[in-house]
């Protein structure tokens, strides 16, 4: 019986990826084996740098790996209009000179899965390109991975398009490969994560605590993407963010929270398919609610968040990083 749960976080930091990493580190349950990155929210060189600097800042000593530079079949399409060009709203983290791991992300994950057969958990909170390449190169790894938790998709509305949540939309072929891979899978979609906001008072009190880490989070929260030209091009003119009352939706953090506290998410197994070709519905994670396809369940779909539990997790997170 391992003392700590071996974990790999595959991500594209990303403001909510940043919080997910903070949570994973502070909860004390995980042996974080590596953080692997890919392009997605922003270009891959930024996501890699953000992951490296975040890890160094919170004292996390694991390998940082780089993965896919672009989605499997086409050029990258970023969400820089949400996260800023550099992925963390222009916030400067202390620059770490630690080198990146030489191995590509998929080789790192495979190596760790072999070291911890049947035990390794993976949190994939960006597009699924790295995971798809992992499964194509090492098909047998699906048996070695205990569970893959993804932040992706939605059972209702999307964000990047009417039904398309960004991570799935960004690489639909990768998503299709993952959902059909046979891996033990939990999908935490937008419809679920939207319910997972921290209590406003707890959030704002936490943000005011002293310490470098929290100060950086505070700066990220102050970043208002809606007033940038990038955002205006995508979404038009919107009123500015009400920073004082703002509590972020943090999909990646909710996914991580669901890994930390097994009772936090209410889940149900279904067959889920990814639309990869319809021009209007591209990226939609369609849940076969009524079992009309008669295909076996391939996924545990997260449906509801216990807001008290997640507020408690954030509260503990702020306490952990106070003064750090």
């Amino acid at each position: 019986m391992l003392e700590k749960r071996p974990l790999i976080i595959d991500c594209d930091p990303g403001i909510d990826d940043f919080v997910a990493i903070l949570l994973a580190n502070s909860c004390g349950q995980f042996d974080i084996r590596a953080i692997t990155t890919l392009g997605g929210n922003v270009l891959p060189q930024y996501t890699a740098r953000n992951a490296k600097n975040t890890a160094a800042m919170i004292g996390l000593d694991c390998p940082i790996g780089r993965g896919a530079q672009k989605p499997l079949m086409h050029e990258i399409d970023t969400a820089d209009y949400i996260h800023g060009v550099d992925g963390i709203g222009g916030v400067e983290l202390p620059e770490s000179d630690r080198p990146f791991d030489e191995r590509p992300a998929w080789d790192i994950i495979y190596d760790e899965a072999c070291k911890f057969p049947g035990q390794l958990e993976v949190a994939a909170i960006g597009p699924l390109t790295n995971i798809a390449i992992l499964f194509r190169k090492y098909p047998e790894v699906v048996r070695l991975i205990k569970k893959l938790h993804i932040m992706g998709g939605s059972t209702t509305t999307g964000n990047h398009s009417p039904y398309g949540e960004f991570n799935i939309w960004e690489d639909v072929l990768a998503a299709d490969i993952v959902f059909n891979s046979g891996v033990e899978l939990r999908m935490v979609g937008l419809d679920c994560t939207r319910q997972g906001q921290c209590d406003k008072q707890v959030w704002h009190q936490g943000l005011q605590k002293p310490g470098l880490v929290i100060s950086k989070l505070r700066e990220m929260m102050a970043f208002d993407p809606t007033q940038t030209e990038l955002y205006r091009q995508h979404r038009g003119i919107k009123p500015p963010k009400d920073v004082e009352n703002y509590v972020p939706g943090l999909p990646d953090a909710v996914t991580m929270a669901g890994m930390i506290d097994e009772d936090l998410l209410q889940c149900q197994k279904y067959y889920v398919m990814v639309e990869t070709t319809g021009p209007l519905t591209y990226g939609w994670t369609m849940v076969d609610w009524n079992m009309t396809t008669r295909k076996p369940f391939n996924c545990e779909v997260a449906l509801k968040v216990d807001t008290d539990r997640i507020t408690e997790l954030y509260h503990q997170m702020f306490e952990f990083y106070e003064g750090k």
Partner: protein, 310 residues
């Protein structure tokens, strides 16, 4: 003349085997290895077929196992053409040599990395292994000299009206390969349908008096019968054309066009959409599409190979 490094990827497959014989016997390639892919038949059968064939012909070429499923996981063996074993017809003794441990894409990566010069790839089956290689080793794509593939069709398909089998079997893989920027010679149905064998050719193989010639004749007997059963008179020998195009490019009529693989169309999924009328804006021709060849010379060169192999 220096032998050019080559890796053949296939799903043997009657015509894959003929292609391998042509490549080996030409003496003009440094045939580094054969990677197997799921396609005409399931992967284990493809591997077994190629091992048995190489043992029988006493050819020492390493064999590597690749993808067992297409990128999106559907599995459609071409039993009608090739039989359930994938190589129905001749009865071969069981294989004694073994498939190598290394994964196909790792072998391709190792070969490219260690080669001083760029390497030729001749995919004769679905493009799954090539695409898996490209996504896992994007930094090595530039070391591919050229891909001469059997697949596609500029104007028609076979499995469906729009799609030829190899592309149809894994359109996403084909899309990744065709958009990779690597120089590609597409030997699709447009040219391969000119490369047919008829009964007199099969007799000629047999009359060569070599073991390889008899083997080829037995393969072709089954292959042609299979097509007749399907009511098709064409007995096109598709895969060797991809090798022939590498050996004698001056003898194959090609035109460079912009080709994109369709993965979206309701009826046209798997089509190699070929812009022969310069109608797609902003796209440069990216594929040398083969349309015709000298069939007599093609058969002659096959006979030369079957004699050389003994």
């Amino acid at each position: 003349m220096d032998r050019r490094p080559l890796i053949i990827d296939g799903d043997p497959g009657h015509d894959d085997v003929m292609a391998i014989m042509l490549a080996y016997a030409s003496g003009r390639f440094d045939l580094k290895g054969i990677t197997c892919v799921n396609g005409n038949c399931p992967l284990p059968k493809a591997v077994d077929n190629i091992l048995k064939t190489l043992d029988y012909l006493e050819l020492d070429i390493p064999v590597y196992a690749g993808a067992a499923t297409p990128m999106r996981g559907y599995n459609k063996p071409a039993v009608m053409c090739h039989g359930a074993s994938g190589l129905a017809g001749p009865i071969l003794p069981p294989a004694t040599s073994k498939v190598r441990d290394m994964r196909a894409i790792e072998f391709i990566a190792k070969t490219l990395r260690e080669s001083d010069e760029k390497v030729l790839l001749a995919p004769l089956g679905p493009l799954t292994n090539i695409a898996d290689f490209m996504i896992a080793y994007p930094e090595l794509i530039g070391k591919i000299e050229r891909i001469s593939l059997m697949g596609g069709g500029a104007l028609h398909g076979n499995v469906t009206p729009a799609a030829e089998f190899n592309i149809w079997h894994d359109p996403e893989a084909a899309r990744i390969v065709f958009s990779s920027g690597v120089p590609i010679t597409m030997c699709g149905l447009d040219v391969t349908e000119h490369a047919f064998v008829d009964p007199s050719d099969i007799q000629r193989f047999r009359d060569l008096g070599t073991r390889a010639g008899r083997f080829a004749a037995e393969l072709m007997d089954y292959y042609c019968l299979a097509f007749q059963r399907m009511g098709m008179m064409e007995n096109a020998l598709h895969d060797p054309v991809a090798i022939y195009a590498l050996l004698y490019p001056e003898k194959v009529e090609t035109h460079k066009y912009y080709v994109e693989v369709d993965i979206f169309g309701e009826y046209t999924r798997g089509c190699t959409v070929t812009d022969m009328v310069d109608s797609v804006p902003g796209k440069q021709p990216n594929v040398d599409v083969a349309f015709d060849l000298d069939r007599n010379d093609f058969i002659d060169k096959l006979c030369d190979a079957l004699v050389k192999l003994g």
